[in-house]
Every structure is written in structure tokens, then in C-alpha cells.
């Protein structure tokens, strides 16, 4: 049995059991994150290997609809420098603008927030921008370790072909100089912590 699971928390796909099975067999990804707003009708079933992502406003609704209580939710938000108030109660923050993060670390350090970067965002970057992105990620990872944030890389896939296999994830991690085994282990532990608080 696999103890450390490979996880893609940020997909914008519509759930189907076939999809989860195929992603496991083709890409070796064990756990997938789905947007609650796109998939609320699937809450009636218990899903071991999927995690629902809800926004702050839809979380209450999500919990109410989680009749059997078997599903696990993460409250997610996109970082917006103009509305920092909403950050304090989120589990996972999606970062699209790196400049916004610089002042963020000291202020919200120690809250065990997940800081997520979407790989689908960089697919259309130019070569020099990609080079800069890798160097920025290295800095962000160092800051995350220093201030106790969980660094998260997600596919951000809204189409099937935007999904990544665990091998491609590992290639990204190695290029950012993160040891893949440590990354997956930390992410598993972080999710277990969140699950215990849920």
C-alpha cells in the first residue's frame, strides 16, 4: 500500500469516477481536488480520494449539503492584495501575482496556510518569464519554510490535457530544487493536519 500519496489539489474539472480512476492509472496521481461549485451534486457520495475546494462564501452551504459527512473540504481563495481580511480563515491561497506575496509572509506567518501556484498559468509564458518563474519559486519555497506556510504546486487544469503526471510534478520540484519525496510527505502531513481540525 502506498503511504505517501501524490496530490493535485487544484483542478477545475468536473468530477467523474472514471476520471479519478484514469488519472490514477495514467498519471499516478492518487488524490484530486475539485471545485465545490462545479461539483456539488457529487456530495452525496463518500469520496476517499477527492477533496472539495469551497470559497469562504460557499463553505457553509457545502457543509450543509455534506449529509453523510464523509467528504473533506478546504476553504480556498485567490490572493487579492486589496482584500486581505478574507485571508485569516482560509486553508489554501492561490497566488497569481508574485508581487502581492512579498509583504504577506511576515504578516500571516505561522497560520499553516497552504500557498498554491498553478502550473497551467505558466504554460503560455515566454521562455525568459519561465526562467524567472523558477527562480521566484525557489525564493517562495524558502520563505514558505521560514514562515511555516505549505508550498503547493497544482495543475490548475480546466481541461483534461492540462493534467500532469507525478513524474512531471517531480521534474518541476527538482528544477525548483525541492526534494520530491519531502514535498509529497509535507503535503500529506499538512492535509492530515487539516483533516484532523475539520
Amino acid at each position: 500500500m502506498k503511504i505517501i500519496k501524490t496530490i493535485d489539489l487544484g483542478t477545475r474539472l468536473v468530477y467523474s469516477s472514471k476520471l479519478v480512476k484514469s488519472v490514477k492509472s495514467m498519471f499516478d496521481i492518487d488524490v484530486l481536488g475539485f471545485d465545490f461549485n462545479k461539483n456539488y451534486e457529487y456530495l452525496f457520495y463518500n469520496h476517499e480520494n477527492i477533496i472539495f475546494r469551497a470559497s469562504c462564501s460557499s463553505f457553509k452551504n457545502a457543509k450543509k449539503n455534506n449529509h453523510n459527512g464523509g467528504n473533506f473540504f478546504l476553504i480556498g481563495s485567490v490572493l487579492d492584495i486589496y482584500s486581505m481580511e478574507s485571508i485569516s480563515n482560509v486553508d489554501i491561497l492561490t497566488i497569481r501575482d508574485l508581487h502581492a506575496v512579498k509583504s504577506f509572509f511576515k504578516k500571516y506567518g505561522g497560520k499553516n496556510i497552504g500557498m498554491e501556484y498553478l502550473l497551467s498559468d505558466i504554460r503560455c509564458f515566454s521562455d525568459d518569464k519561465i526562467g524567472k518563474w523558477f527562480s521566484d519559486m525557489k525564493w517562495v519555497y524558502e520563505q514558505c519554510t521560514k514562515y511555516n506556510f505549505q508550498f503547493i504546486l497544482s495543475s490548475g487544469a480546466s481541461r483534461y490535457y492540462e493534467l500532469l503526471s507525478s513524474k512531471v510534478f517531480n521534474a518541476f520540484l527538482l528544477k525548483i530544487t525541492i526534494e520530491p519525496k519531502k514535498y509529497w510527505n509535507d503535503l500529506n502531513n499538512w492535509l492530515n493536519d487539516k483533516r484532523s481540525l475539520y
Binding site: M26, F125, Y160, S165
Partner: protein
Amino acid sequence: MMTLAKKKFRYICIYLIRDQHIDKDQILAKFKHSLYTRISGIFGQIDFYNCNIRFVKINELPSEFIIIKCRLEFVDRVLLSIYLIPSTTLILNVSGTIKKMKKRILKISYDINDDDLLMEAM
């Protein structure tokens, strides 16, 4: 005495999602061009030539499956570059031998040809 170490290679299998309006040879040519430009753009010309990229043709496989052969030490760079091409491709598998690769492709080809899944992709 000088020893000649044998170069090790890896085979990467990708799936090119068909566009009914474009000829498949044209799609492949476009993909090759984008891949070469991306690798040399991100990692430089030296690494591009060191990757030793070859496209392997296997007659038994459907034309959508493309096998790329590259040097073992550079396989991560090739994987990243394939992902970073904004095209409709799926990176399916990395293997050390063609034989293992074929076996794996046959196993997953059922999933990949599933209409429901492709509906998501199109």
C-alpha cells in the same frame, strides 16, 4: 585505460489530441517545432543538443501516440518543455525500453480512447 560508458536513454510517450480540421502530419510538425524552440529557449542550445531528442516511429501504435527518445540525464528537461508547450498533449509515460512502453500504452489506451474523457479535453 579509457572506458566508454554506454549512454542511457529514456522513452517518453505522449498523446497528441487530434483536431479534425488539421492534418495529423501538420500537427506533428508543429509540435516538433514548438518542442525544439521551447527546450532551446528555456535550457539553451547546449542542453538542447545534449538531450539527443529523437522521434521514434512504432507501426503497431495509433498515430496519436508519439514516442520521444532522449538522454536519461536530460529527461526532466524534456518533460518540462513538453508540458510548457501550450498544445493539446498528454504526457503519459516514461520508460527505459520500447517493449515496456508498448505494454503500458496498450494498458492505458482504453482510458485514453474513452469518449467521455475526451469530451472534457476538446
